[in-house]
């Protein structure tokens, strides 16, 4: 056999082996051990700004030419938040949204308007208002369009994202193409100074947001709401005939997705302090979608992985200069061809789902 094939097979086998090994070790752990593993993992994430200091790891993760921590705070966290939100819409409810950047923009712009151009509320107050406004936009978009199926919805949402961007660009009231600057930063808490230079506090804030969103979305996913979403994704007609108010739940998916997207926008605006319409191009919607599917649509952890890769890799690959985007395109094709379900696909049908006695059937 061809040596490349063989080595590919071997790599595959050893990866599978490692995965199985980890899984079995994980299963063997007691609850306290698991808890401490979680705590350690979370701690390591909060300490990420210092990863570049660790000898070997540092040279692997550090981004050439850009500040690693800023990449985390300005790009990675934002993309992860967005991917989490979009995963609700696309991955769970199966609604193809190609204009998700619109909600991100609404969140950012609302914060900008409220804290800089038309009022000077504190960021902390702008946060809930912006999320609420994003949700309202989700409902405004969803209400007339959710009757549409699949790809019709895709093109309408794409149009919606463009309408938002172009409106911001053409409305003097929203700063036009000049954008809005002097957006307020989050308030400093004791030693945590949210200023212009140090990105670390923003990263910690963003990471906390990610955990909060994960926690809440996890609850939704494992409830009647999450089941309704997946049922709609799988067969909308059948879902409706099984008593699912499909319209209402699709609207919820849109609204919740929009809220998370808006949250990402708030975080971005509060960090950078300046936004303009060019921050929200159509291409970004597509990139967001690519993140979700690349990671594994329908699986929260997959979406997170996708968000990280899509935002971090271009910075890591700065050496490729203007070939970065080309490499990214080729990589998308390769991943889809060999892992069409994404890097971390959603697993359905684990025995875990059976809680009652008499489980563990055939197969």
């Amino acid at each position: 056999m061809n040596p490349v094939v063989r080595s590919l097979r071997q790599v595959g086998a050893s990866l599978a082996g490692a995965k199985a090994g980890l899984a079995s070790r994980w299963n063997a752990m007691g609850p306290t051990q698991r808890l401490s593993a979680y705590v350690l993992g979370v701690l390591a994430l909060y300490l990420a700004p210092w990863w570049t200091e660790i000898p070997l790891l540092g040279s692997i993760v550090d981004t050439p030419g850009t500040q690693f921590t800023t990449v985390l705070s300005d790009r990675v966290i934002i993309f992860v938040l967005v991917a989490l939100g979009l995963n609700v819409v696309v991955g769970l409810a199966g609604l193809l949204d190609l204009g998700y950047v619109g909600f991100y923009a609404v969140g950012a712009y609302t914060t900008a308007i409220l804290t800089s151009s038309h009022a000077s509320l504190p960021w902390l107050l702008a946060l809930p208002v912006s999320i609420a406004v994003s949700m309202v936009f989700g409902v405004i978009l969803g209400a007339p369009t959710l009757r549409l199926r699949g790809d019709y919805l895709a093109i309408v949402t794409l149009g919606f994202g463009e309408i938002i961007r172009l409106s911001a660009k053409n409305a003097e009231w929203l700063g036009g193409s000049r954008g809005i600057n002097d957006i307020k930063h989050p308030p400093s808490i004791g030693p945590l100074k949210f200023g212009v230079v140090d990105p670390k506090p923003y990263y910690w804030l963003g990471l906390t947001m990610v955990f909060a969103v994960m926690f809440l979305l996890h609850r939704l996913e494992n409830s009647r709401v999450g089941r309704a979403w997946v049922a709609i994704r799988e067969d909308e007609d059948a879902a409706e005939l099984m008593g699912v108010d499909t319209f209402r739940f699709k609207l919820w998916a849109f609204a919740i997705g929009a809220a998370v997207g808006g949250l990402a926008g708030v975080q971005y605006a509060g960090k950078v302090g300046f936004i303009n319409p060019d921050n929200f191009p159509l291409l970004l919607s597509i990139l967001f979608l690519a993140a979700v599917v690349l990671g594994g649509s329908g699986n929260m952890h997959g979406a997170i992985l996708g968000g990280i890769l899509v935002s971090y890799l271009p910075e890591r690959l700065r050496n490729f200069q203007d070939k970065r985007v080309f490499v990214f395109g080729v990589a998308l094709v390769l991943v889809m061809v060999f892992r069409p379900e994404g890097l971390l696909p959603k697993k359905v049908g684990t025995r875990k789902a059976v809680a009652a006695p008499g489980e563990g059937g055939a197969q």
């Binding site: 094939v5 019709y152 050496n319 061809v337 069409p340």
Partner: protein, 374 residues
């Protein structure tokens, strides 16, 4: 004053809108054909169009050597030779787009249908080798050599890694399409004749005013575009509805599995579909370069979004819908520019789309493929 602009210049706007709309229509056909057969938004179709425009421009500049920037030096303004040149340019554009579309299918989509093939594997292997070697050397020639050496072994690896007989989820096709689209456009930006700059072409067709219609000047290029698009559309419709291969296309569109059982070579039909879409995009590209005399590596993106919008507006999967949708979109854009200003034209276009879909959820003419019953 603005308020009366539409009124005063209505026919001017109509004619130029129809000309622009014709190009949308032709590109929309490619989306509609592929969507009809594979239920796939062929996101990279816009890049097929872009490649076609480069084909047309290269035909006139590199192959025919028509001089740039001349002022009357070009001998074939009219007459038979002009026709020959136009046909040659058209063929070049069609060949570029057609081959591009076929290659795209085999590289980015075929294996996702559970049907990995050698050509796709070779191209993917080459690209892999190329990218991997880029990590180590930043020199295109060296990369090509390394990639060429690595192609054979990686190809074998890929052939054995393909997930045969397994249909991938639809989103995977979409993302693969997006990846391919990005890669093609960027490749043109990195290695194409003009890199990231605009690619110009000399004037081939003098833009004389042919006649006046209700006060509007009708230029020869407008007429060629509109008539050319209509002709290609008619030819395609005849082909799909009347020919045996066309019947195969429709059968695969509705139920590929059964079509296979009845003896339709599904892979071949899909290839034909892509080729047809590519050829139409090539036609559109040629007409486009005739009118605008330029292209750029990223020209496809916006035009692609517009054309896909046109396809949806008319009813995706419906050939006549693509025509209607394209023309309507071209007109709406022009009228909107006159009434609200150019910065609002896309907003108006999308609002029109939204309104149309709210009242006709499957577009103006509806999908042509019947949906199965509940």
């Amino acid at each position: 004053m603005r308020d009366w602009l539409l009124y005063r210049t209505f026919w001017d706007l109509t004619i130029t809108g129809l000309a622009l709309g014709s190009i949308y229509s032709l590109v929309a056909l490619g989306y509609t054909l592929v969507y009809g057969v594979l239920r796939l938004i062929n996101f990279a179709h816009s890049e097929i169009f872009m490649v076609g425009t480069f084909g047309a421009l290269m035909a006139s500049q590199e192959f025919l050597g028509i001089p740039m920037l001349e002022d009357g030096g070009y001998p074939y303004r009219t007459g038979f030779m002009l026709l020959v040149f136009l046909v040659f340019i058209l063929l070049c554009a069609m060949v570029f787009s057609g081959l591009g579309a076929v290659a795209l299918e085999r590289v980015a989509y075929k294996s996702l249908r559970g049907n990995g093939d050698l050509f796709g594997a070779v191209v993917l292997a080459f690209l892999t080798g190329f990218v991997v070697s880029m990590v180590f050397v930043d020199d295109t020639l060296a990369n090509v050599i390394v990639a060429a050496i690595l192609t054979a072994p990686i190809t074998m690896g890929y052939m054995s890694l393909f997930r045969r007989g397994k249909q991938s989820p639809r989103l995977a096709f979409l993302i693969s399409a997006i990846g391919a689209s990005t890669a093609i456009a960027e490749a043109m930006a990195i290695w194409g004749p003009e890199k990231r700059e605009q690619y110009q072409t000399p004037r081939i067709l003098e833009k004389d005013v042919l006649f006046s219609f209700l006060g509007a000047d009708v230029r020869v290029d407008n007429v060629i575009v509109i008539v050319g698009a209509l002709l290609m559309m008619v030819a395609l419709t005849l082909f799909v509805n009347k020919s045996r291969l066309g019947r195969g296309v429709r059968a695969v569109a509705q139920d590929a599995e059964t079509a296979r059982i009845l003896g339709v070579n599904v892979d071949m039909i899909i290839l034909v579909t892509f080729a047809l879409g590519g050829v139409m995009a090539g036609g559109a590209a040629m007409l486009f370069t005739l009118v605008y005399e330029q292209s750029r590596f990223n020209i496809g993106f916006i035009l692609g979004v517009k054309s896909f919008t046109a396809a949806v507006l008319g009813g995706i999967g419906n050939l006549k819908g693509a025509l209607l949708g394209g023309l309507v979109l071209g007109l709406v854009e022009n009228y909107a520019s006159a009434v609200f200003g150019g910065q609002w034209k896309d907003v108006v276009a999308f609002v029109v789309l939204l309104v149309v879909l709210m009242f006709r959820p499957t577009g103006l003419l509806g999908e042509s493929l019947g949906r199965a019953r509940v």
